[in-house]
């Protein structure tokens, strides 16, 4: 695919051996980029397959997996966020399906999506301490240690 038109969004194309191609973008440009990819006739990525969050120990990476129904192509947008203040703009205005994905990531990684009004814990119970899928997570909740007593 021709990604040169994306230069105005400050993108960096990452291609490593044994990995898929990623488009790295700053979190401030994310919404604009996704909007462009979704609506431009050339790309027309109309379905957000999923959002993948990865804990890279120093920071978090989010991968937005976009699929196109018409051209049967994909694009993977990667965003790096700072671990100390994990915040990223929400994309539910662009892809409505992102709501559950964002809730899930908020629940399991503690990444906050600004603009997402109803962000809530999706799987873990209310009042759960910590974010389980972070690499430094230690299980402290008493509700799970019933069999060790």
């Amino acid at each position: 695919m021709n990604f040169e038109v994306l230069d105005k969004f400050n993108v960096e194309i990452i291609k490593k051996e044994n990995s898929f191609e990623k488009i790295r973008v700053e979190s401030s440009n994310l919404c604009d980029l996704l909007n462009f990819l979704k609506n431009s006739a050339e790309f027309n990525f109309d379905r957000l397959n999923t959002i993948i969050a990865i804990d890279l120990v120093d920071n978090f990476e989010l991968i937005y997996d976009l699929h196109s129904i018409n051209t049967s192509q994909y694009a993977r947008i990667s965003v790096i966020i700072d671990r100390n203040s994990p915040k990223i703009p929400s994309i539910i205005e662009i892809f409505k399906s992102a709501y559950y994905d964002e809730c899930e990531i908020f629940d399991l990684f503690g990444i906050e999506f600004t603009n997402n009004q109803n962000l809530k814990r999706l799987f873990m119970p209310k009042g759960w301490v910590g974010y389980p899928l972070r690499k430094d997570y230690k299980q402290t909740d008493e509700r799970l240690s019933w069999n060790e007593k």
Partner: protein, 380 residues
């Protein structure tokens, strides 16, 4: 909440939520005004589990993500690891994988058909479809030793080969099945009660299915002909990163993709029934190939010592409930660094509030049932 509204709580224990979904409904008389799904009752931390286990140790667990179509999860994970570690899969293994997966899709759709109609108040079809599903499960039991959690695929191959005897049994089953499917259609498709309850109920537009990332038969019921098995896309633009279309040997097989037009509950039913017929077609093609060809199926690599080079991969599989994607990131050690599952039901639950707004309370079953949601897949 206005005064006249009745807040009603469906689930987590309720006869028709297919597991432990909870829906908080607000009713005005019998009309649903708002719906809020509450999930997480079956959250088992599948993704966290992967990080503490080796690649092989995680393999039996993935079958449990969607217990009705274990082969698909298993394949998605194996496919990702094989691509990362660059393991070749022999042709015969691929054919057996297609054969087992299509049988699994058939059994999953049969169970869906029975429970969907049970939700609508018809008790008999449940027993009929379970009777046929039982045959498939017995065949699986004979092949893998398990009825639901197969653990049959390995990295680069299968645990063991299929016997000709077993293939004959599958062949017999494929021969009687079209008549059974015709029977179901006779009792259901033209039933006026069924059609009035499902036609124009829970209509999904093309746009909203894509917006809400609905995939699988639910997407095809709206008329969009997208199937990740098929390489012959309508406007197939084949470049290096088309998303894994036509995985395994599907491009060599001959099958059509059933679609419908309006995207209501009836169309979702129709598409699944047609898909069952396609499954049979694929199964018989696989049997023909397997009978006339031999080949190695046991993978030469040492499964338990598997070290995967650094990298990441997403494999997309067309599961019975929509696209099942498995993302695997490896840091070069014996354990996966991160595994992420994307399942069809997760997004089907998300669209419920939109679909259920201003419908009648009994429509809840016609809509929710037709989406074919399975809860372990939602919560993972």
């Amino acid at each position: 909440m206005t005064k006249n509204r009745l807040k009603i709580n469906i689930g987590p224990q309720h006869p028709s939520t297919h597991g432990v979904l909870r829906l908080v409904l607000e009713l005005e008389g019998e009309i649903i005004k708002s719906c809020e799904p509450v999930i997480g009752y079956l959250h088992r931390g599948m993704e966290k589990m992967a990080e503490n286990r080796t690649y092989l140790q995680y393999l039996p667990i993935v079958d449990r993500i969607d217990y009705l179509s274990g082969f698909f999860n298993s394949f998605a994970y194996c496919n990702a690891v094989e691509n990362l570690a660059q393991i070749e899969v022999s042709k015969r293994s691929q054919y057996i994988r297609v054969l087992t997966m299509e049988m699994n899709r058939l059994s999953s759709h049969l169970l869906w058909l029975g429970t969907f109609l049970l939700d609508m108040g018809a008790t008999s079809p449940l027993f009929y479809t379970f009777r046929d599903r039982e045959v498939i499960l017995s065949l699986f039991e004979e092949l893998t030793g398990q009825r639901l959690m197969y653990n049959y695929y390995t990295f680069g191959g299968l645990r063991h080969d299929v016997s000709d005897d077993w293939l004959d049994k599958v062949g017999d089953f494929v021969k009687i099945m079209p008549k059974k499917i015709q029977d179901y259609e006779d009792i259901i498709t033209n039933n006026p009660i069924f059609t009035t309850r499902t036609k124009n109920i829970g209509v999904l537009s093309k746009n909203s299915t894509l917006q809400y990332s609905i995939t699988g038969p639910n997407l095809r019921a709206t008329g969009i002909r997208v199937d990740y098995r098929n390489s012959k896309q309508e406007t197939g633009n084949k470049e290096h990163n088309s998303h894994g279309l036509g995985y395994l040997v599907y491009p060599e097989l001959d099958f059509e993709i059933p679609t419908a037009k309006t995207g209501d509950s009836f169309d979702r039913y129709k598409v699944r029934v047609e898909e069952m017929k396609v499954c049979l077609k694929l199964i018989s093609q696989c049997i023909d190939w397997l009978k006339s060809n031999t080949g190695e199926i046991i993978s030469p690599i040492k499964q338990h010592l598997l070290k995967v080079p650094e990298g990441e991969f997403i494999s997309n599989v067309e599961a019975p409930r929509g696209v099942c994607s498995c993302y695997v990131k490896s840091d070069g050690s014996g354990n996966p660094y991160r595994v992420k599952w994307r399942t069809g039901s997760f997004y089907a639950v998300q669209i419920l509030p939109k679909l259920l707004e201003n419908t009648f309370y009994p429509d809840l079953m016609a809509i929710f049932g037709s989406l074919d949601v399975i809860l372990p897949e939602v919560d993972r």
